[in-house]
Symmetry: C2
C-alpha cells in the first residue's frame, strides 16, 4: 500500500488541462487577444462549452475578460500573466507532437 501520493498542485494542474478544449483555448489565446466567436470558429468548440471554459479560466485568473461597449458589444479575451506562464507547457506538447505523433492513425483504440 503506502501509495506515493501525487502532489496536489500537480494533480490540480492535470485536472485543469485534462478538461476537453481547455488547452486549445489557452493555445489559441497565445496568439493574442480574441473574441468569443473567433475562438469558437478557430478550434471548433460549441458556444456552450466555450462559455463554460472561459468562465473557469477567468475564475482561475488565467484569462481576462474585457467588455468593449461598441455596436454590438464586443468582448475581448486575453491571457493574464498566469495564462502566459503556461506557454512552455503548450510548446512542450507542440514539440513532442511534431516528433512523435502520427496524424494518420486514430487516437482511440479500434
Amino acid at each position: 500500500m503506502t501509495q506515493p501520493t501525487i502532489c496536489p498542485k500537480f494533480e490540480k494542474a492535470i485536472s485543469l488541462l485534462s478538461q476537453r478544449w481547455m488547452a486549445l483555448v489557452i493555445y489559441q489565446l497565445l496568439l493574442g487577444t480574441q473574441r468569443f466567436s473567433e475562438i469558437q470558429s478557430s478550434i471548433g468548440i460549441s458556444g456552450k462549452v466555450l462559455s463554460d471554459r472561459l468562465k473557469e479560466l477567468e475564475h482561475l485568473d488565467i484569462v481576462k475578460r474585457e467588455v468593449i461597449p461598441q455596436t454590438p458589444v464586443l468582448i475581448e479575451y486575453s491571457l493574464t500573466e498566469k495564462g502566459h506562464s503556461m506557454e512552455p507547457i503548450l510548446r512542450t506538447i507542440e514539440n513532442w507532437s511534431q516528433d512523435w505523433v502520427n496524424p494518420e492513425s486514430k487516437v482511440s483504440a479500434d
Copy 2:
C-alpha cells in the same frame, strides 16, 4: 473566416492528453514498471477506465504490456521509448504547477 487551422499532430497530442487519467497514468509509469493494481491504487482510477486507457496507450505504442506467467499471473506495464519521450511534457506541467497552482481553491468555477 480563414481560421488558422491548428496543426493536426498537435491537436492529436492534445486530445490524447485531454482524456481523463491519461497523463496521470503516464506520469505514474515514469516511476518505472508497474502492475495493474499498483497503478490503480496509486492514482485512484477505476479498473474499467484504467483497462481502457492502458489498451489505448498500448495501441499508440506509449505503453508496453508484459505477461509474467506466475502464480497468479502478473502483468507488467512500462513505458516504451515513445512513452519516455513524453517525460518533458509531464515535467513542464509539474514545474508550472509548483509555481502557479493554489491547491486550496477549486478548479471548477462556483
